[in-house]
């Protein structure tokens, strides 16, 4: 079937557009670069809306498929496609890049064309990861994305950026190299790199466990799961605003997507065997990291730790399915769990991305991250505070915001699996409310504490547009999540079928 190669355009248009931005950076004015990048981002966003609207929600088959030979002598193919899981993430990528380009009007002022070029390349490679259906192409984009992220932290970051950038790169690279070994091993077993073909092979349990750990290391570092999370607070605090937004909104989702695309369907018996191992790690992330967030005085670190805690719900949702089936035997309960994980990924992107953007709006004027240096911002930046309050409420999980939907679905399904897991996860919501509201109180409410806060100017122009867009997403997803849920229902059913099969040799 012939169709517009939408996925290729979404990948390569930003990458190719980045080249003139980089090559002509000496001769380009900052605003010219910003408008150019904005047009590219809007085109990609428009295409992704078109893709979302025309997506066939009745089938779990791959759509918008493109299949070309890439390196025939090695059996590699340029094989792209989206299904219900990857399509919302592709749309999310285009949306996030739009937000970052809009934010570049106020939040970045030196080397602007190169900054925009770096983030456009990152958009292309991230969409490449979400749409790849060939294992080596997936790995290709997965690693390629590290280069622009490393450069963005190191060139535009804060004082300790060198340490954070190297830590980020080495930690993530270490996690992913074993995935390369696993992909090559799967290729030697099937003769192809086609990911969909990997779903059909049988392995012995010990083989499956090795394969699971190979993938686990890569995805656990990306998500990040406890105890592989220590790179994230450093990367977030030292990254520029755009870097933090893309890290929180997109890069963390790559890990969750990886579990859904690779671990669950390829080695279901290992996932079954290691369910409680993964559930305990997720609960550690949710509960322990929430307490760590409570103790932070650095605002960005606090938001970073809260990010890790929220991503714990994603992994919890993914790995509860086997325990649920054992306890209730009801597939629709497990379905709810996976859906909750998916929704949590998307809503966390909006919530955390918005909070980091909001922090950037304050940082660009106050140049400090310490909570004690803030206080009473609501008095000098009322519009900004209103938006930030909404995003904070979404972080807490207030019904009506997107943060509630995902967490509620996961907790509801975990109740079917185990009372104590639910107790721990739900009680962490209280801690989540505690650190978020305490942070908001110290930063926004109360009297104006110092001259720096008094001199703050409220957000205007491009920043307002970004916040309005993000607020719209948070509210729409909070009030009418069916818009998102209907897209991935058949895919999740199919994925659940694959994950509940036994594929032992």
């Amino acid at each position: 079937m012939t169709h517009l190669p939408l996925l290729s355009i979404l990948i390569w248009l930003p990458v190719l557009a980045a080249m003139p931005l980089y090559l002509m950076h000496k001769r380009m004015a900052d605003n010219e670069a910003r408008w150019f990048a904005l047009i590219v981002a809007l085109v990609c966003f428009g295409l992704s809306i078109f893709m979302y609207a025309n997506f066939d929600t009745t089938t779990a088959k791959m759509q918008l498929v493109e299949y070309l030979p890439w390196v025939p002598s090695l059996g590699l193919h340029y094989y792209l496609g989206v299904d219900g899981i990857s399509m919302p993430l592709v749309a999310l990528s285009a949306f996030t890049t739009l937000i970052i380009v809009l934010a570049s009007w106020t939040m970045v002022s030196h080397k602007v064309p190169q900054y925009l070029a770096t983030f456009l390349v990152m958009q292309g490679t991230v969409i490449g990861v979400f749409t790849s259906l060939d294992g080596m192409l997936f790995y290709f984009f997965w690693e390629a994305m590290l280069i622009p992220m490393y450069l963005s932290i190191g060139v535009w970051g804060m004082a300790n950026r060198t340490y954070a950038a190297i830590k980020f790169f080495l930690y993530t690279f270490f996690g992913s190299v074993l995935m390369l070994a696993v992909l090559l091993y799967l290729h030697s077993k099937t003769g192809t790199f086609n990911i969909l073909d990997f779903y059909t092979i049988d392995f012995s349990l010990s083989e499956q466990i090795w394969i699971f750990f190979g993938f686990f290391l890569a995805f656990a570092v990306k998500i990040p799961m406890w105890p592989f999370h220590t790179w994230l607070p450093d990367a977030h605090t030292e990254a520029p605003t755009g870097g933090s937004v893309i890290l929180a909104a997109l890069m963390l989702k790559l890990g969750g997507y990886g579990f859904l695309r690779f671990s669950l369907p390829i080695v279901p018996d290992a996932c079954h065997y290691l369910s409680w191992f993964m559930i305990i790690l997720s609960l550690l992330a949710i509960v322990y990291i929430a307490f760590v967030a409570l103790s932070q005085t650095d605002m960005k670190k606090l938001i970073a730790y809260s990010s890790i805690a929220h991503m714990g719900f994603v992994t919890l949702g993914c790995f509860l399915i086997n325990v649920i089936i054992i306890h209730t035997g009801n597939v629709s309960d497990a379905h709810l769990s996976l859906e909750g994980a998916m929704v949590q990924m998307i809503s966390h992107a909006f919530g955390s991305g918005a909070m980091f953007l909001g922090f950037g709006a304050v940082y660009v004027q106050m140049k400090t991250r310490n909570i004690h240096d803030f206080g009473g911002i609501a008095k000098t930046m009322p519009i900004f505070s209103a938006f930030f309050m909404l995003f904070a409420m979404s972080n807490v999980g207030l019904p009506g915001t997107s943060g509630f939907v995902g967490e509620f679905m996961v907790i509801l399904s975990s109740f079917k699996a185990s009372f104590w897991a639910t107790f721990l996860a739900a009680s962490s919501l209280v801690v989540g409310a505690a650190y978020t509201l305490w942070m908001v109180k110290r930063v926004f409410f109360g009297p104006v504490t110092n001259a720096g806060v008094e001199a703050l100017q409220d957000i205007r122009g491009a920043d307002v547009i970004s916040f309005v867009l993000l607020a719209a997403m948070v509210l729409v997803l909070g009030f009418y999540p069916q818009l998102l849920l209907k897209v991935f229902q058949p895919t999740i059913s199919h994925l659940l079928d694959l994950s509940l099969q036994s594929r032992l040799l």
């Binding site: 390196v71 790169f169 091993y185």
Partner: protein, 484 residues
């Protein structure tokens, strides 16, 4: 030509190069010391020879392997690919070295002459099919490089490096010859095919004499490649030599040494595969370990690149360990991509050098991102390619090696290699960090380079990027060398 006569048609390119060398020698004797005539003749000669290699293979021998000089010289697919790449690599080496040599008032005409002689030696070594020819090619390519390392007579470090290189190479060649003598004793012939045949026919179990031969031959080759535990000369020589010579000995000779490795191990002793595989595994693991860990401490960029080249030679041996034709092709592809990356890497260092300003320390790279964005970008591509990050050449080269290893059931070796790659990542990142995350020191002169060198480094950098994304053409060339 029939085989009753001494067939020399396949050796036409070498004959042409020899004529060019003689012409260069005569011109060098009669022109002024700072004339560019030798450079021009050398470059033209290299291009002519490369064209003649392809022409001879396709037209005179119709694309089939051909022997010359009664089987002492072979022109097969492997030889053609490596020879053309060697000539191209030397072309780019001389292109980048010209300004550097001029600035430092090195005896340039002699430099180009020695480079051409060494290239001739590399070509002979690549095509050698007889123990004697191998040794002749090896010596012809090594001896001029001793002089090139020590060519700046006033430089204490250069002379020291030259002496070290000379003595260590002599020991290496001695070991190799000793091994050859045992091989001759075992088989009664110097021809590689005959040796292989007689080893298979005459020995069911491995004769102690034969295993001595194998060990000494591998040791001799390992000296030339610069793998552990014969790697001691590499950092000192790379560091002490002038950067143009460092580029020359880092890039092109590895191609010829790879050819020697293939001819001796796969051509002459294929039935001993299980034995030399064990030797190569030890060499590979030690090289990857020592190369990667030692480079972390380095502050001198030439020593850092020297240790990284030790590690790369370790990676290259992995394909030979795999023992399958696709493994051998992967090794060939890896050594080709290594040569391309190394030329670009040292090329950037050469282009950064200006009058009196020697780029040797890592800190000399500080702020290159703002001083010369294009050179910094090329260096970025080269560094990430050496680390093995997509979408660059080094990644796909590494993937092929690992795939061949997995097919031969060496999963543990794959995991070990990947872990060493992560270690190696650290020092490559430090290079990027110096270039982009730090500001330039204020008192440095502006970087400027001639147009021809700029075009050369651009082509080189783009090859690293584009062949990394579309490796099929180059990989098919490598595949055909071993898969008939």
């Amino acid at each position: 030509m029939t085989h009753t006569l001494m067939n020399f048609v396949p050796a036409t390119p070498e004959i042409i190069l020899l004529v060019i060398i003689c012409a260069t020698l005569l011109v060098a004797a009669f022109v002024r010391a700072n004339s560019q005539a030798c450079y021009v003749i050398a470059q033209a000669g290299l291009v002519l020879t490369a064209l003649s290699v392809v022409h001879t293979f396709i037209y005179a021998d119709s694309g089939m392997s051909a022997m010359a000089f009664r089987g002492m010289f072979v022109l097969d697919h492997l030889a053609v690919v490596l020879k053309v790449l060697t000539l191209v690599v030397v072309f780019f080496t001389l292109l980048f070295s010209r300004a550097y040599n001029n600035d430092r008032d090195m005896p340039r005409n002699e430099y180009y002459l020695l480079a051409l002689l060494s290239t001739l030696g590399m070509m002979i070594l690549t095509s050698a099919h007889n123990l004697l020819t191998i040794y002749m090619g090896l010596e012809l390519f090594s001896l001029p490089t001793f002089a090139m390392v020590a060519i700046q007579r006033q430089s204490f470090r250069g002379v020291e490096a030259g002496l070290k290189y000379c003595i260590v190479s002599a020991v290496g060649s001695g070991l190799l010859l000793y091994g050859f003598s045992f091989l001759f004793g075992v088989s009664g012939s110097l021809d590689l095919n005959v040796i292989a045949h007689r080893i298979v026919m005459g020995h069911v179990t491995v004769d102690p004499l034969l295993s001595m031969a194998l060990v000494f031959v591998v040791a001799g080759i390992a000296f030339k490649l610069g793998v552990v535990p014969f790697q001691m000369w590499v950092p000192d020589v790379y560091d002490g030599a002038p950067t143009s010579t460092t580029l020359f000995i880092a890039a092109a000779p590895k191609l010829a040494a790879f050819a020697m490795l293939v001819r001796l191990l796969i051509g002459a002793m294929p039935s001993l595969h299980a034995n030399w595989q064990v030797l190569l595994i030890i060499l590979a693991i030690l090289s990857m370990a020592v190369g990667n860990f030692s480079a972390i401490m380095q502050t001198n960029i030439k020593r850092l690149l020297a240790y990284s080249s030790i590690a790369h030679m370790g990676y290259m041996l992995l394909g030979l360990i795999a023992g399958t034709p696709s493994g051998y092709s992967a090794s060939l592809f890896y050594v080709m991509s290594y040569a391309i990356m190394t030329v670009a890497g040292f090329g950037v260092l050469l282009l950064m050098n200006r009058q009196g300003c020697e780029v040797t320390e890592l800190d000399d790279l500080s702020g290159l991102g703002s001083r010369s964005p294009w050179l910094a970008f090329v260096m970025l591509l080269v560094v990430f390619s050496m680390a093995g990050v997509p979408p660059l050449l080094g990644f796909i080269a590494k993937v092929q090696l690992l795939e061949a290893l997995i097919h031969s059931n060496y999963v543990w070796l794959v995991v070990l290699t990947l872990l060493f790659s992560v270690v190696g990542m650290y020092y490559y990142l430090r290079i990027v960090q110096r270039m982009y995350f730090q500001d330039a020191k204020s008192d440095l002169p502006a970087i400027s380079y001639r147009l021809d060198a700029g075009v050369g480094i651009t082509i080189n950098g783009l090859v690293v990027l584009l062949v990394g994304i579309f490796p099929n053409a180059l990989y098919t060339l490598a595949l055909h060398a071993f898969v008939m």
